[in-house]
């Protein structure tokens, strides 16, 4: 039995729109990759072997130290239908890879969904912590704590010279991937974004769009993450990402200020126009929705639009994805039907939020 909140509610900790710098940083995430020393990695493991790995990892859930962190629920991927998997992917709780390709895959979720532990993904164990706002250090602390509990019970694949051994050579060493999701409309509108993103890639960090590829990120959302995992300590990696993100926040703030000073009426027009379209449109594709929602969010942050909570935007960002729309509808939908449902959902949320 899968608790309904995991696959039916969009509401999850990282979407609450709270946390430091949450007008620019949507969420902070740390993921660490670990493997059991004595088992082949999931790519080569037999059904029997991956079954044993799952058993060993789920046994750790009984550990008192883990219970102290939170209550956890284990959900085997086999117990979920396609839509439920899609919803967990859209909530960023599992990876597409785990959803589609894993054998004896499972996810272990904490009650508030801040911790999600993927079993038999590319590595045996992937511990992920996801916090709202700019809390990358806090996310690392929590992931580290969860890792310590598993380490007490299991023999990890670890080498003195190479560190934690992972399936992909890009993760070896610390096995850590830390990332922040940032909303950067100011830098995009003022056309400074490519200059800044180029600079970011020169200091060993990677940038990619969320819900989109390349430099034209949908909804002006960008994810910045570390690339190097070997030869730097976890603290160095986190500090580096923290420092760079902090600078981007400052640039974004300055860009927004400048836009308001120099293009006040254009910005007011743009954000209200998007609010109007979202409040009344009958058909809305995902690309337009992402852009309009970004405009409205900017309008809220600049105090031009009042009465819509930023939380509604985070929630809509996830709820307007294909998997969620179909989950709410309770059936498979064609792309045209999805665009109609999406428009309807956004209209309802905005109306409810403005009257509240």
């Amino acid at each position: 039995m899968i608790p309904k909140r995991f696959t039916e509610q969009a509401l999850t900790e990282w979407m609450k729109g709270e946390g430091p710098e949450s007008d620019i940083v949507i969420s902070s995430r740390v993921r660490i990759a670990r493997n059991l020393r004595d088992y082949p990695y999931p790519m080569l493991a037999t059904n029997q072997q991956s079954r044993e790995v799952l058993d060993k990892l789920s046994a750790v859930m009984q550990h008192e130290d883990l219970k102290e962190i939170s209550h956890f629920t284990l959900i085997p991927l086999a117990d979920m239908n396609e839509l439920q998997k899609m919803v967990l992917v859209e909530k960023h709780l599992i990876s597409p890879n785990l959803a589609n390709e894993s054998r004896n895959g499972a996810v272990i979720l904490s009650d508030n969904e801040s911790v999600s532990i993927m079993v038999n993904e590319e590595d045996h164990l992937r511990i992920q912590c996801l916090y709202p706002g700019f809390q990358i250090k806090e996310a690392w602390d929590l992931a580290n704590q969860v890792d310590d509990v598993f380490e007490k019970k299991l023999e990890y694949g670890f080498d003195e010279r190479r560190g934690y051994l992972t399936s992909c050579p890009t993760n070896v060493g610390t096995g850590i991937r830390a990332s922040v999701m940032m909303h950067l409309p100011g830098l995009v509108l003022s056309q400074q974004i490519s200059r800044i993103l180029t600079a970011v890639t020169q200091v060993g960090l990677a940038v990619r769009g969320i819900y989109g590829e390349g430099s034209e990120a949908l909804g002006n959302l960008f994810q910045i993450s570390n690339q190097i995992t070997l030869g730097q300590s976890e603290e160095e990696i986190i500090d580096n990402l923290y420092g760079v993100a902090k600078q981007i926040i400052e640039h974004e703030r300055a860009a927004r200020q400048k836009l308001v000073q120099e293009w006040k009426m254009r910005i007011v027009d743009r954000v209200n126009r998007s609010l109007g379209i979202l409040s009344h449109a009958a058909i809305m594709d995902s690309k337009e929705a992402a852009q309009r929602l970004s405009d409205v969010r900017l309008g809220i942050d600049l105090n031009i639009i009042r009465g819509v909570s930023p939380y509604v935007l985070n929630e809509l960002m996830v709820m307007t994805q294909p998997g969620f729309l179909q989950q709410i509808a309770g059936e498979k939908l064609s792309p045209d039907e999805r665009d109609i449902r999406r428009a309807q959902l956004i209209r309802e949320r905005f109306a409810a939020s403005q009257h509240a």
Binding site: N144, Y156, F158, V172, E213, G214, L230
Partner: protein, 171 residues
Amino acid sequence: MMCQECGKKPATLHFTKIVNGEKTEFHICESCAREKGELIPGTSGGFSIHNLLSGLLDFEPSQSQSAAKVHKLRCDNCGLTYSQFSKLGRFGCSQCYESFSERLDPLFKRVHGNIVHTGKVPKRSGSIIQHKREIDRLKREMMSSIEREEFEKAAELRDQIKELERKMSAK
């Protein structure tokens, strides 16, 4: 908008490619995207990090005779060959790191700019590593004590080192 490929289904995926500053856009439906092997967000397939890695792994500067030998390297534990590893871009088990060890320094150097881990150490296997690091430190201290002719101090340090070495061999 209809799919540019088949013209039958509505286009749900919109790609923008920028190659050497030249921008091209195309709009296709899901099934055509799959056929073309374009990356569909949220699914597997398309160009991945592993494709990129295999490019790095196959890089064999001026060693064409030994290349054949290298590709025959095989991990005893899981059976993965080096040649498979270089195609897949992934290791098969923890033992692979040992089996392909001679080939890995240049790879890690290229991917990470480093070859040695300096971060977290698991506490259980860590105690040995921590002891080793501690012994190295004590030995350096002992040498400098001897240079300063502080022999009593050096003798103390020597005993500490012995004690640690005894603990390690007991494990």
